[in-house]
Symmetry: C2
Subunit: 494 residues, 2 copies
């Protein structure tokens, strides 16, 4: 970037900001600190060890009257904030869905913060709208999907799914946008269907939209934790008989608890027969389509009405960056677009104004980091990393499976998540719950690995989720060693 604009002597003095050199020094120090941190994250315990309230108590309870030097903030950041950080960038982070802020992603965030461009309208920074559309088209191509998908970046999958169901609600033909749903004799209950293993974001979307949690129908899954299409059909028939209106079905590619994959093609056939919108929750699992031999996991999604995939989960992009794709951008606009006078611009007919496709008006330049990630690694580099994570997961599953003495897998390994537990013969489920909770706590307290848990059909289960770009075999091995040691330690008194 040697051609960067030289400070011009004609530039007016700043009205009231800090001295530029103070910023330069602090930002360079921060870059070095981040680089060191990412190279040595393993020296921190993955999970923060602070007690509730400790971070807040260590900082002044009131804001300063006078400004302070940036150096003071960096010191507090290091001494007070850092102990309260659970390290999502640690290669031993295996909880929830592990993710990572890769180098190109951090670089993109830095530049976006410097520009502070707002892409609410095309004209308010054309590059924000255009790079977002281009980058999402790149991602579509990487996933092997057909033309005709419109993408927009949102902050989280919860919002992406909320928007998709808002579009479905509008498209159902009751003019909900104008008339609302309350106090209308002409409107039936609208029903949404998903698997019993679906993510809570579907629940939240249905609640927020005013559809009612009772109208989210959870369809039982099969032994592989996949939504059972024949029960979906039966549920829809029951609802039709009761006078309800089936609105949408939300199958999942990569459920949160165990990364199971619903039979999307069968779901779509049923949904189409009943005029339902199909939104695929591929927030975690969607990126597997970038790996040629795993693309089958996304089979059927190309025929859906919308889907969500989160680059900030397993695509090495810093929080936040979720992508909503839909084939019906007009339905999104119908659900959300408004054009007050102060937002009318001359170019509006020729260009996409992303504010028309959701609630938010302001829009950060989030595509920059994603674009940099896609370029820095390329299609093959991304596939290689995702493939490697899945390989590590299979290796870990193999270690669990072949270990004698009570370790067991509790779900198939479809992606990079392993569900397992320690259940020596003869123990009741109640004891197994306590034992595994104690094992998890001991491992998490150890500092080299951080796992989370779930329940799968009532069985308490540990989850080892692999998704950090710096996770290698050594970290998996360390986790396994820590788990067995914890099991041995916890088993002694039993």
């Amino acid at each position: 970037m040697s051609d960067s604009p030289a400070p011009s002597p004609a530039s007016p003095a700043f009205a009231g900001d800090l001295a530029p050199d103070e910023f330069r020094a602090a930002a360079h120090a921060a870059v070095d600190w981040i680089a060191d941190y990412l190279e040595s994250a393993t020296q921190y315990p993955v999970k923060s060890r602070v007690q509730p309230g400790a971070v807040r108590a260590a900082l002044p309870a009131a804001p300063p009257v006078h400004g302070e030097p940036l150096e003071a903030m960096l010191r507090d950041f290091r001494d007070t904030i850092m102990p309260g950080i659970t390290h999502w960038n640690h290669p031993g982070f295996f909880a929830y869905f592990a993710n990572s802020a890769s180098y190109p992603g951090i670089l993109g965030e830095l530049l976006a913060a410097g520009l502070n461009a707002n892409g609410m309208l095309w004209v308010t920074s054309p590059a924000v709208t255009e790079l977002e559309q281009l980058t999402l088209d790149w991602l579509r191509q990487l996933m092997g999907l057909s033309d005709g998908w419109f993408g927009e970046i949102t902050d989280t999958a919860s919002v992406s799914t909320f928007y998709a169901l808002a579009a479905a609600r509008e498209r159902a033909g009751y003019d909900v946008r104008r008339q609302g749903m309350a106090g209308r004799a002409d409107m039936p209950r609208l029903r949404v269907y998903c698997s019993e293993h679906a993510h809570s974001s579907i629940d939240k979307a249905v609640i927020a939209l005013g559809l009612g949690h009772d109208n989210l129908v959870k369809i039982p899954a099969d032994d592989s934790f996949r939504l059972r299409p024949e029960l979906l059909e039966a549920a829809i028939q029951d609802d039709l008989a009761a006078g309800y209106r089936p609105l949408a079905v939300v199958p999942c590619v990569g459920t949160t608890s165990m990364t199971s994959v619903d039979p999307v093609p069968a779901v779509i056939r049923i949904a189409r027969a009943h005029g339902c919108w199909v939104h695929v929750d591929a927030a975690y699992g969607g990126v597997t389509a970038i790996v040629p031999e795993m693309r089958y996991l996304m089979d059927g999604t190309d025929d859906a009405d919308s889907f969500v995939v989160n680059p900030h989960k397993w695509l090495f992009t810093p929080m936040d960056c979720s992508v909503l794709y839909t084939k019906h951008p007009a339905a999104l606009k119908q659900a959300f677009a408004l054009l007050p006078e102060y937002l009318i611009t001359r170019t509006q007919d020729d260009t996409v104004n992303l504010m028309d496709y959701g609630i938010q008006l302001g829009r950060r330049f989030r595509s920059l980091k994603l674009w940099m990630v896609l370029r820095a690694y390329g299609a093959e580099g991304i596939a290689e990393r995702i493939r490697f994570h899945c390989e590590l997961a299979r290796e870990f599953a193999g270690m669990v499976h072949f270990e004698s003495g009570g370790w067991e897998l509790t779900a198939p390994v479809t992606m990079s998540l392993v569900c397992f537990r320690y259940a020596p013969a003869g123990l009741t489920e109640e004891v197994i719950v306590r034992l595994n909770a104690a094992i998890m706590e001991r491992v998490n307290a150890g500092g080299d690995a951080y796992l989370s848990h779930t329940k799968i059909n009532g069985r308490y289960t540990l989850r080892l989720a692999i998704g950090n770009i710096r996770t290698d075999r050594v970290h998996i091995d360390a986790a396994w060693t820590a788990l067995r040691a914890a099991a041995a330690a916890e088993s002694v008194p039993a």
Copy 2:
């Protein structure tokens, strides 16, 4: 930050990331570029001059197969992205609501991106939750508000208002969360009230919540563009007579078109009498409460149920950072909280888990930048900058007012926005619209200033919004010179 963690030789090699040195070099180059850019932003035209589609067309239509060096991205950023940027950080940006990414804010974003911490639960990074709560309590104190406000950061004011009205809907007692609103004989239409000058985010929230746009009642304003309380009372009476249920009132402190201030105390008295939730839209104007002599503008808000204020507007914080404050966090939880097994943690009863107060699960470490901004400038420094912007606005308004030959103010100057137009005697409104649109276009094309427009009671009006931390008198003078030159040039053929 000299005590930053030194890379340990014991750290394992990275599995598949770039060489750390490549990141160091690129990030240091980016810091220098940003520092230069902020010192010399005036050398760019404020408003991008690219044609629609030009940025996208200049970049490859397909993603790369192999990874590329970060240096290549920085080059494209500079050569291809930058021409497509409209410079919100330019001191001559006066459109919409001008804002700025200050040095401490950019530093905070950089560190947050490096950590990539996710504060969905307290335990997933305790510092994220605790610093957010502390920083928002600092902001509350700065605004002179009483204890008992619960704050959370959202991305935009639209989402903050959406959450507030979702809480109001839940608190109304119809169990909307569980039963929804459709197909219920026991539920009346729920009505929301705001001024005719209210922001489109209120419309979007009402639509998204399924209340129906028809049920948003726009109350006429007085000659100073303030909601008329007696007409609010009359509208509520009409609705009660029609069998509707008044749900919420949303007065505004700093309307988008002209920064008028609704009479919040009178609105609250009426709302209380009818059991309505009061949400104050102070997204732009709320920060004036940090300036002691302007605090009166927020009179009454301390008695509201919720309000929104946006640090990313006039508090020098990079996008995105909106704050929703409420006195009823339990109502927010009632509207949104869910606890699936995989999110249950041992500490949940003792700590706030911010995922329970909205739709989003993932949460960026956005408080870091705000905390750094508040510390870097301090209470007095912030007040001084906001005060200075208001002073500049009054000076500009004075220039308009005392200029002979047809310039006129179209609204009172209450904050840092000036509404004005060029309307020489004898011209029809139609000609005035064309003339002012042409003046604005000419000024915006000039590159030294960027203004937007609105309509105030049918009168086409230019808006000069001052909010960038680097805006000084010289930029206001330049805008005024450009405006008069444009008026002269456009008036010649008429």
